[in-house]
Amino acid sequence: MCERDGYVVLFKKEGCTVNSVTVNKTDGIHIVDLCKKIKGSVILDHVNLIMKPGKIYGLRGKNGSGKTMLMRAVCGLLIPDDGEIIINGETLHRDIRFPRSIGALIENPSFIPEYTGYRNLKMLASLEGGISDSEVCKALSRTGLDPDDSRTFRKYSLGMKQKLGIANAIMGEPDIIVLDEPINALDEETVGVIKSELIKLRDKGKLIIIACHDREELEYLSDTIYEIQNGRIV
């Protein structure tokens, strides 16, 4: 049993009950008793969370507290030792291997250094399928990058690399957007642009998860903030 936003949330193996009313698991992300150990160290310790579409969720915590690992787990990159992640009614690693519609920026984005930003995103879009060239250009423009920029990723500044990572995450407007430290290395003007884009996406019904060290920015953007300490939601 744990407390969230003034609600008493009881997690049961077969379902999830909020104030004794069963929550519909077909919407958003339901994390139930999630545990993960890596080389003997506890990374995620019985994490229970409910995240709904159309909201921005902030994750706060010290370095190594488990924010990024939780994000990786939600993305399907990490295999849980115990517990479940249910996304829109489907259990990760049982019904699906990855969330059906997700975009993520986790840590430093590592694109192909010899390719331009547009070419990098186009290649990833082709792997994903169903994302048109115009959507690739739109994603770049939304983050303040020029789709026609002939510079390769190698020649990008730190901020431009970050923008490209965000453009990749929001490309095609996925249902779930996971952003780990998205405003790192960005100038004030760009931070404003990114914030307004995220709010627009939230208003379109997208579920956004953000980890950020900047308390003010996180509080401004997030509808709900979760604090993580030693792999536990506190």
């Binding site: 890596i38 990159l77 990855f98 590592s110 990833l124 792997l127 399928g129």
Partner: protein, 276 residues
Amino acid sequence: MKTLRLFRRDLRLGLVDKWYIYLLPAVFAISQVVRCHTTMHGMKDFGGVASNGTVMDYILYSMQGMEVYNFDPRNPFIVPIYWFVFQIGAAYMMAYYSYDDLAVHGRLIFLSSRDRGAWWRSKCLWCITGIIVYFAVAYVIIAVGALSMGADSSMCMTRSFISSLFGVNAAALSVSEQILMACILPTAITIAVSMLQVLMSFVLTPVISFSCVCAVYVVSAYYTKWYAWGSYTMWLRSSYVTDEGVYPWGGILTSIIICILVGFAGRMYFSNKDIY
């Protein structure tokens, strides 16, 4: 479909963008053509052979490896350097790309493709294609080099040349047997070893995996056994030409079994692997 999309990406990044790796089989082929031509010319001068040879003569000369080695203090063991460099070149080509792709681009690729199995399948296809192209570059340059040296375009060897040069009974060898032991078998075995190397690079490290492959080839040069897989890549050690040799069809079967086992093992490994 996802496998094909990923495979296309692997072809672009792992083969086309790394075209310079194929300079090694090209240099190997050119050097072997020159050596073979010089040898043949020398034998011609002494009346050993009457013609300029055929394309198959040049291929057999290039892919000879070494004869079965039996320990003798008067006959020190020397690794056949041309064969060794050629095989190690293929192993080097396979050493880093897959590992780096996972370590550097893994998150982006897995999240875009959303298919762990497709990623591994595309790596297997990339490995197979990479080795086939590697050998094809060598064979094509050998063939073009042989033709430019005045050789006949026939895929049938000049028996007098092969018999007198290698001291083997070449009379009984059919064209299909020559192609099997000099072209298909070395390619198939190298594909199997490379696939195993790629998988091992994730479980161990690329350096350890590459070192293991080097060790396998050195052991193969010393021992002519079914488990010393490199022996299959040297036609002079084929059971078609020596009683102590390894069976070519056994080599084909070995390579198929290794490829299937590696394919399944990789699938299991990556379906439960954490991507950081």
